[in-house]
Amino acid sequence: MKTASYVSLIGVLILITAVFGLATEHFFTVRTFQTIANQLPALIVVAVGMTFVLGVAGIDLSVGSVLALGSSVMGVLLVDAGAPLWTGMVAALGVGGLCGVASGYVSMRWSIPSFIVTLGMLEIARGGAYLVTGSQTKYIGAAVSGLGEPLPYLGLSLAFLVALLVAAGGHVVLTRTVFGRYVLAVGGNREAARLAGVEVKKVQIVVFALAGLLSGLGGVFQTAYLGSADPNAGTGMELAAIAAVVIGGTSLMGGRASVINSVLGVLIIAFLQSGLAQLGASDPTKRVVTGAVIIVAVLVDVFRQRRTEHAGV
């Protein structure tokens, strides 16, 4: 059943590639695919975190702002404090993780919907990003850009390879470990999971901490890729991440999630963005087309599932 869902997403991806390949002169080239791959790391790791969050039937609206905060802290440390690269990276991850723990703890301790708590965190982290940078973009340059630059021969960046490793790791954790089973059990039926002895709240807090940590990592990737830290980074990224994860067939109601499908969802969104830009589409057109493709991709998945349910059970 799972392989079938990969197939429908890959089908959508091939269709998009074919359409843009025909409509533009240079879309169907290795170069284009390498370029797109090197833009992806931040969104991939954020989407992996979001997959776990939706898996426990939560939602995290703060990922884009937390990414910006991590990036800003890193930028200020490297530029204004002259700190070494690893310090900046650790700080970005730490800040992201802390934001995640805070959201998860507040949401679980007082049973507030994660929608509300992370909406608050979205504002707090964005405000924090403006505060630490004084609302200014920090240019870092060569000290950081090595991570995001294409490696010789391969044409892919180190950040992209790390992001793929993170996605593979996330897939293994979700499908092959006890923790992964707990995540889906909590999301599927919280009460049943609790009665079965799962420490529900602890699982959820860990999941939010993970999402925060991965947003911080996304901040590191974004900073490396652009060679600078922008406090406005990641605006609206929560919606792109949720769209990618939902296109991948993860349920907003929890209990059903796949990291690999989420990565395919990220690819669909990224191919659309790049293809439409290469085509020179206007901003309104881009939005209309992207929205339509999100709905169609989810519909394809829904129909495929109904068919397998009718046929199989």
């Binding site: 080239t29 284009t32 200014q136 600078s228 830009a277 020179g280």
Partner: protein, 320 residues
């Protein structure tokens, strides 16, 4: 019940009294021969750009303490029009001599500013220009003091074309399409490209931000293999485009220009990775408005036209 009615009546009548009072005040207190009081009303003081403007104004007042008194106010949220309207009314009520305002909306602020002007207060418009049609239809003229974004962008574009040849392929990455200054800058770029006979192959929005501009720039570099330049309507987008050019390995081949002269681009300009940007002197924008207001109070300047403030071209040679 009766107390309830009395309360409602009081609530209804009190503002009317206050308005009456406010309307009378400038006439009731004859102009004092002392220092004029200038109110500076800004947009959000949480925004770096307006903080810089306000700080510039405070420094100017501190350097000229004899010339005028300064009252600085800003609203909390950039879209909170009612708060800014209330602020203008408060300033009229306290009897200031001049109001220098960066309106949060180019139409909605016109009625209250007309009331201020009718009360004999000198009103100067800075930053966001009031809608000319609305001003005309409400029969009030309020001078605008500020930079011409279109001319600034044209100067940046003209500098770029000196490095290019007629017919070269160029692309424009604009700001948020509905913003007035985004439209002005894009138009300025178009003017300069048309004047030099460049071939504009694509015009797209980068939403004022790095990452979206980077995505667009990378796609353009993939599609247009002969692209010679990318013109960005602000410096953040120029940074995004510079990263795309570097990663495509086309540095030196594709030139980039921006707008705003933010600190983060200075190193790239020095290294030649960004060719030029424009500086509209953000710290002086409010000061220009205040000086225009003071000249009017002294009766040195009349009319209701536009006073253009300088926008300077910044390149590696011009020094930063």
């Amino acid at each position: 019940m009766t107390t309830c009615f009395a309360y409602i009546r009081a609530v209804l009548v009190l503002p009317a009294f206050l308005l009456l009072f406010a309307g009378c005040q400038p006439a009731a207190t004859p102009d004092m021969p002392g220092k004029p009081r200038v109110a500076l009303i800004m947009k959000s003081l949480a925004n770096e750009f307006f903080v810089t403007m306000a700080d510039g104004a405070r420094a100017h007042q501190a350097a000229n303490p004899e010339a005028y008194e300064l009252i600085v106010n800003g609203i909390k949220n950039e879209s909170d029009l009612s708060q800014q309207v209330a602020m203008v009314e408060n300033m009229v009520a306290t009897g200031v001599d001049a109001i220098v305002i960066a309106p949060a909306d180019s139409r909605a602020l016109v009625p209250v500013l007309k009331r201020a002007a009718d009360a004999g207060i000198v009103v100067i418009n800075i930053d966001n220009r009031l809608d000319e049609a609305v001003l005309a239809s409400s029969g009030v003229s309020i001078p605008f003091v500020g930079p011409d974004n279109r001319r600034g962008a044209e100067a940046v574009g003209a500098h770029l074309t000196m490095q290019l040849q007629t017919g070269d392929e160029v692309a424009i990455i604009g700001g948020i399409p509905t913003a007035f200054n985004a439209q002005q800058r894009e138009q300025g770029f178009r003017d300069a490209m048309a004047a030099a006979g460049m071939n504009i192959v694509s015009v797209q929005s980068g939403s004022w931000e790095q990452a979206p501009a980077n995505t667009v720039a990378a796609a353009l570099l993939g599609e247009y293999l002969n692209l010679k330049a990318i013109l960005c309507s602000n410096d953040n987008m120029a940074l995004g485009a510079a990263a795309a050019v570097q990663q495509a390995g086309r540095e030196g081949e594709v030139r980039i220009v921006g707008f705003d002269n933010i600190e983060a681009v200075r190193q790239l300009i020095a290294e030649g990775r960004i060719l030029a940007t424009a500086d509209q002197h953000g710290d002086q924008l409010a000061v220009f408005g205040i000086e225009a207001a003071l000249r009017r109070l002294r009766g040195e300047e009349g009319g209701d036209g536009v006073l253009e403030t300088p926008v300077d071209l910044v390149t590696a040679e011009s020094g930063l």
